[in-house]
Symmetry: C3
Subunit: 167 residues, 3 copies
């Protein structure tokens, strides 16, 4: 049985939509684990838009930091984590050790008894950012993506809303 | 018969070249619909370079805004629209409703009696821009790409000048 | 026999790791041609990290500018050039003619008697940089990637540490 799935893509590449459809393929209702925290009105609007698009087939949990804990609440239902990049943002802004948190997440994946679909972002295909923090974040996000992709049975790149199979 | 084709890619990924070859495969001469407007000398140089590369097999039309109107001028010849991202720029800078214009373009595609090849840009795979307008433009460009890709029979991602089949 | 291989990808996409594995597949020990120059401590740290990951199966040469000369030192061993983007940076910062250097590199490829694996970066899939020099560098990097990809028998895009076959 497919256990861990990663859907990656740039901003507005349709990755959330692809990941939602893939999760519901695996069972309904499904659990939506939102890592987003609304720091400003732009973020609030984006979260509201995502929630409005999802229908009643979703049980929503909000968890900005403790993903391993959030994955315990399941009852055999498939889980969608949207997204790893915001989780990393929350970890770094909160002064947490993102490498330790990432390793703990990877270590928890083989114990899962229901599928987990992760959404993440491609951040590294633009020009090198002048801002040092932006470079560090980009590096961390890329490494986290590699770790999850290595552990995943299925990896998909979203391009213009379409899925491109990577693994 | 293949009707709508989308070729996407980053800057200098060879997407225009791939789209031109694909269009000429579908019929010669072909119609080139240029959405570019030269606002500065850098843009002028790029437009001139693109024109110089195209040979006498192209009938060039310039149309910064009314793509649906431009697509009516055809006589059965394949059309290349280069590119959707500049079209979106023109719409937004001119204060037009880009969502309405995008929907009208999608609605006009099934009526086409000759193929249309669209070139567009991947803008969303870099770090999140600090500039709010840049984020809004990136979001709009991503959505427009998704709409056209959903309507297209064929979608190609240009990577280092090479075509990668997405749909 | 496969002669020229290109591995491209965004920052932290795992491209160096994929290219190293591919090079060692072609013969051991292999020659590592490093184009990096440490201008600051961040760069030094990254170079040291890359070196530490490579084992004793690598013979390392440092060559920031004369890649054609560096490729002569071989004895039939496969060569890994990491990376083209830093080579381009060195050429441009040093006031050299990067187009001439790029053409000379392409011209030297058919003479190679052992495989060459190039690593390069995807830089063009973010928002258009406001900085003109950044745009010029992005354009040059994209063109160089196209030239090498056209000459290569094998082109791979790294996504989340995984190889996606392009050619």
């Amino acid at each position: 049985m497919t256990r861990t799935i990663l859907v990656t893509g740039g901003a507005r590449s349709g990755k959330s939509h692809i990941a939602e459809a893939r999760t519901l393929d695996l069972g309904r209702p499904a659990v939506y684990i939102a890592t987003a925290q609304a720091f400003d009105s732009e973020m609030e609007a984006r979260i509201a838009e995502h929630q409005a698009r999802r229908g009643p087939e979703w049980i929503t949990h909000s968890e900005p930091l403790d993903l391993v804990g959030a994955l315990r609440v399941t009852d055999g239902r498939p889980r969608l984590v949207d997204c790893l990049t915001l989780w990393l943002t929350n970890l770094m802004l909160g002064g947490h050790d993102w490498r330790a948190a990432g390793r703990a997440l990877i270590a928890a994946l083989p114990e899962q008894r229901a599928p987990v679909v992760f959404v993440t972002n491609e951040l590294g295909a633009g020009i090198v950012p002048e801002n040092r923090l932006a470079r560090e974040f980009r590096d961390a996000a890329g490494l986290l993506n590699q770790w999850v992709a290595a552990a995943a049975e299925e990896v998909t790149l979203a391009v213009c809303g379409l899925p491109l199979k990577v693994k």
